[in-house]
């Protein structure tokens, strides 16, 4: 219990940050026309690919003889890149079709 209270105490700025971000997320999405739900989901999907930053960070701090971790890290960066690149490209492809033809 004390551990948990100490955890909250130490990270109170982060906790504020998280709660406020949640509200930003809700506000940003509100009132989106149905037409855009699929592209939006896809775009959001690309954005959580930011987890790759963590994977790169982990790799940069590994020892060069820690082969197991390096292999896992390699896989993590690879999958993260797939998420980011695939996500943005698919979204772009969907949105490309919404060009106004007049």
């Amino acid at each position: 219990m004390e551990n948990i209270l100490a955890f909250i105490q130490e990270n109170i700025d982060m906790i504020y940050f998280i709660i406020l971000s949640i509200f930003v997320g809700v506000e940003v999405i509100g009132h989106v026309p149905t037409v855009l739900h699929t592209p939006l989901m896809s775009g959001a999907n690309a954005i959580h690919g930011v987890v790759i930053v963590g994977a790169i960070y982990v790799m940069l701090n590994l020892a060069s003889d820690d082969y197991v971790s390096l292999a896992l890290g390699f896989l993590a960066v690879l999958l993260g890149t797939l998420n980011v690149v695939g996500g943005f490209v698919v979204t772009d492809r969907m949105l490309e079709m919404f060009k106004k033809k007049k």
Binding site: A44, A46, G49, S64, F88, D92
Partner: protein, 461 residues
């Protein structure tokens, strides 16, 4: 110096994520918004690599570069090549990759950080959520792909799933509280349990509900990314992850609302269950069918035609033909519109994307609320490959599982034409009284071949 530059990179990335998502909410700015998000992401990734302080062996840089190269090529090619109808499963696949990435980070970090309680919480949370998101997304992918097309329900799966969830979360909590359990072996047990939970979570859910599940898993991955950000105090990961987490949850709720079902109903499944179809299918009546030539004449001399597209249209790849029909009718002075139900297709907005692909002007795509009052003044409604979204039982039959779901009120039109391959029930597995309506004529056959024939008939008139 470098570190403060890196913080600025993350700040830029965070701001672009918010602005990008906001711009994606409007058709005019959506594409630019996506590119802005991508630019921010690139900034964050390059900054992380180039502005890193401390000695890093060259081999590691090489490995990172190689992984990014392979991932970029594979991701780019897949995303470019895949057919538009396959979009939902692709989103699910990429979502799973993100979840796996988060879980792998936790696997690597655990041995380094297991002594530190403050770090242990985000590490284990990232592991659990990332793994659930990964295995769940893979199942969703297989289901949408058609590889796994039946909802598999083991007896009392709800209880089993709930128990499994409690055990998984309990083990995670115990590892934080009790030092004796805090070992690598237990970490792998936690990984296995989480992966299993992801599978069991999605397996019983029917294909029609997959969009909701993908949206939910999407927000899970966001949450996993946010825990990674918490672990490293990385603001870009935090904002990106939380934005997606909350936006994804909201999107999930919006989708459920469109089907008028609470989220718990989707997850714990009252749909397609034993009692569902029985009540409605006992009734019945006679079904009329119509020939293509007669339909062509009927449409040609109408004032207003509304097309209701469903997933059947997408499966048959008939979106281009339907656009052709629309153009022919317009050239004859017929007013043509598309009525888009919020959950038409396999994802909200999926139908819009498909129709946009065949260059239908999005001004012609009418949403449910705006189009419903127009059916009364419509001569012909052409329902192509849609079923549950036009089922009047949603309004009239309280025992129907879709009772209360808002529908397109096509029965108010003068003539209702329903194109279906056969009389089989829709995704919800329930009969549709609309087909027995005296105003309804059935146009049996594959959407693409029937519509091509219709287009040819129209041209010859």
């Amino acid at each position: 110096m470098n570190l403060s530059l890196l913080e600025i990179c993350y700040l830029i990335a965070s701001v672009t994520f918010v602005i990008g998502l906001k711009m994606m909410g409007n058709p005019k700015t959506a594409r630019k918004g996506n590119l802005i998000g991508a630019a921010g992401m690139t900034t964050a990734i390059l900054g992380t690599i180039l502005l890193h302080e401390g000695e890093v062996p060259g081999i590691i840089y090489g490995l990172i570069a190689l992984a990014i190269l392979i991932g970029t090529i594979a991701g780019w090619v897949t995303a470019r090549k895949v057919a538009m109808t396959k979009m939902p499963e692709l989103v699910s696949l990429f979502n799973g990759m993100g979840g796996a990435c988060a879980a792998l980070i936790s696997l690597i970090e655990y041995p380094h950080l297991s002594h530190d309680t403050a770090a242990l919480i985000p590490v284990l949370a990232g592991l659990i959520i990332g793994s659930v998101s990964f295995s769940g997304s893979m199942i969703a992918f297989l289901k949408l792909n058609g590889t796994m097309n039946k909802a598999i329900r083991i007896p009392s799966y709800n209880i089993i799933n709930t128990i499994l969830m409690i055990i998984t979360l309990g083990l995670g909590a115990m590892m934080v509280i009790n030092g004796d359990l805090n070992t690598t072996a237990f970490m792998y047990l936690l990984l296995a349990l989480s992966l299993l939970y992801g599978v069991l979570f999605v397996v019983p859910i029917g294909g029609a509900d997959m969009p909701v599940v993908i949206s939910l898993l999407n927000s899970f991955t966001g949450l996993a990314a946010a825990f990674g950000g918490f672990l490293y105090g990385n603001k870009a990961m935090l904002t990106g992850g939380i934005l997606v987490g909350s936006a994804g949850t909201l999107l999930t709720v919006i989708m459920c609302k469109a089907m008028n079902r609470p989220l718990s109903n989707v997850i714990f499944g009252a749909f397609g269950g034993g009692s569902a179809g029985v009540g409605a299918s006992a009734e019945g009546g006679t079904v009329k069918d119509i020939q293509v030539a007669d339909l062509a004449v009927l449409m040609n001399y109408s004032k207003k035609v509304i097309i209701v597209p469903g997933y059947g249209l997408a499966v048959a790849q008939a979106q281009h033909v339907i656009h052709e029909i629309e153009l022919i009718l317009e050239s004859r002075g017929v007013e043509v519109k598309y009525a888009i139900h919020p959950v038409a297709g396999r994802m909200p907005g999926h139908m819009n994307v498909l129709l946009a692909e065949s260059s239908v002007d999005y001004g012609k795509l009418a949403e449910m609320e705006e189009v419903n009052p127009e059916f009364a003044s419509t001569d012909v409604v052409l329902v192509v490959g849609a079923n549950d979204v036009v089922n009047p039982a949603a309004k009239t039959d309280p025992s129907s599982p879709i009772f209360g779901m808002p529908i397109l009120e096509v029965e108010n039109a003068t003539h209702i034409i329903v194109n279906k391959r056969s009389m089989s029930a829709g995704y919800a597995g329930i009969d549709n009284q609309l087909f027995y309506n005296p105003k309804t004529s059935m146009l049996f056959g594959d959407a693409k071949s029937v519509l091509t024939a219709l287009a040819n008939e129209l041209k010859s008139l």
